[in-house]
Assembly symmetry: C2
Homo-oligomer: 219 residues x 2
């Protein structure tokens, strides 16, 4: 349960049942991350879990139900990974730390530059409207975590009072998504770094210049 997002289990699910259910979702999520959603069959999930197909159907009536839980799990993991960092954002330096972590953590773990949220959104948004809505909500949560940090920077006077934290956050997450896609396709972290540097420069353009500095430039 610790690895999952909040959800309603069927009331009579035993601890062992809940563990099996979670294992199915984690396995499906992993297969879908590595090979895509449509390319992942329920037979592959069953084989990888070492369970029977009837066991799978006991927990999930169909693939759509399983996909919904994969989205919930990935949302939970995204929040778990990003919230502790974004909750600390009070300055450009904090944002730069988050940027560095985004660029280096995949490399350090030997993982592909592939966004667990963005890759689902790309594949599902055109075909499954329920999934699309769920993923739009995940992006909204993600942008909200970042916008809260940007709002703190604005309210403390670091960013210009006219700054729109939500709009800035949308731009930064777009840069992150595009950076991931190019980095994965090029198998090179550079496009991700370049895209995030553009995004941080965009935030920096809203940094409030103290009046003292403005007058200094005339001297």
């Amino acid at each position: 349960m610790a690895d999952r997002g909040p959800r309603k289990d069927p009331p009579r699910l035993t601890a062992r049942g809940a563990a099996t259910r979670d294992r199915i979702v984690a396995t499906a999520s992993d297969l879908m991350f590595r090979q895509g959603v449509a390319a992942t069959t329920l037979d592959q999930v069953v084989d990888a879990c070492g369970i029977s197909k009837s066991q799978l159907y006991h927990y999930f009536p169909d693939k759509e139900a399983l996909i919904a839980e994969v989205i919930a799990m990935r949302k939970h993991r995204m929040v778990s990974a990003h919230k502790p960092q974004l909750d600390q954002v009070r300055s450009m330096r904090d944002l730069e730390r988050w940027r560095d972590w985004l660029v280096t953590s995949r490399r350090e773990r030997g993982e592909p530059y592939r966004c667990p949220i963005g890759s689902l959104a790309n594949e599902l948004s055109c075909r499954h409207d329920d999934a699309r809505r769920s993923l739009a909500a995940v992006f909204d949560t993600w942008q909200g975590l970042l916008a809260d940090g940007l709002a703190r920077m604005r309210d403390s006077g670091e960013l210009d009072p006219g700054t729109d934290p939500r709009e800035l956050a949308v731009a930064v997450i777009a840069a992150l998504q595009g950076g991931y896609l190019l980095a994965e396709t090029m198998q090179d972290e550079r496009p991700l770094a370049v895209a995030l540097d553009m995004a941080l420069d965009h935030v920096k353009a809203h940094v409030r210049i103290p009046v003292a500095d403005l007058t200094q430039s005339d001297t």
Copy 2:
């Protein structure tokens, strides 16, 4: 042929054979755009074309061969759509025209905010290394078209002499890709507009400020 990129046809393909082949690729491209690559079966392509499966296999030994041609067709279409505009880029105003076209053309045609190149890259890069390489080359071409325009702006003195057109182009295409993804998921063109505005502001930050303007600001 007019609608396709350069490729080697089997030498004995008749005009009618070439037309059938092109129709198969266009149909497959359309199905894959609307529902994804893995979700598109050869049976669906055959049905939509009104041909037999043995006819399909006459032109394409397998799905991978068909995917390779879909990539080539989309590359050709991307170049056909973007090159005439990017070849004209000599100023920020030209870039803004391209940005406006990117945001409004989908809306006007009632098409989803889905990049024909980016959506393939997202789905194929993790599974098919040949396709990934081809798509990396498509992004490289796209960035090159944009970088050429940015280089003209630099060489004419509009952009700072230290500007790296290639790096700027990577950032802009990343913003475009992320903007598409968020716009499609949110079913809202706003994230695409916000991402492209960030990208153009990023270019604008490299606009050379004439010395006359610098001294004027002191008066």
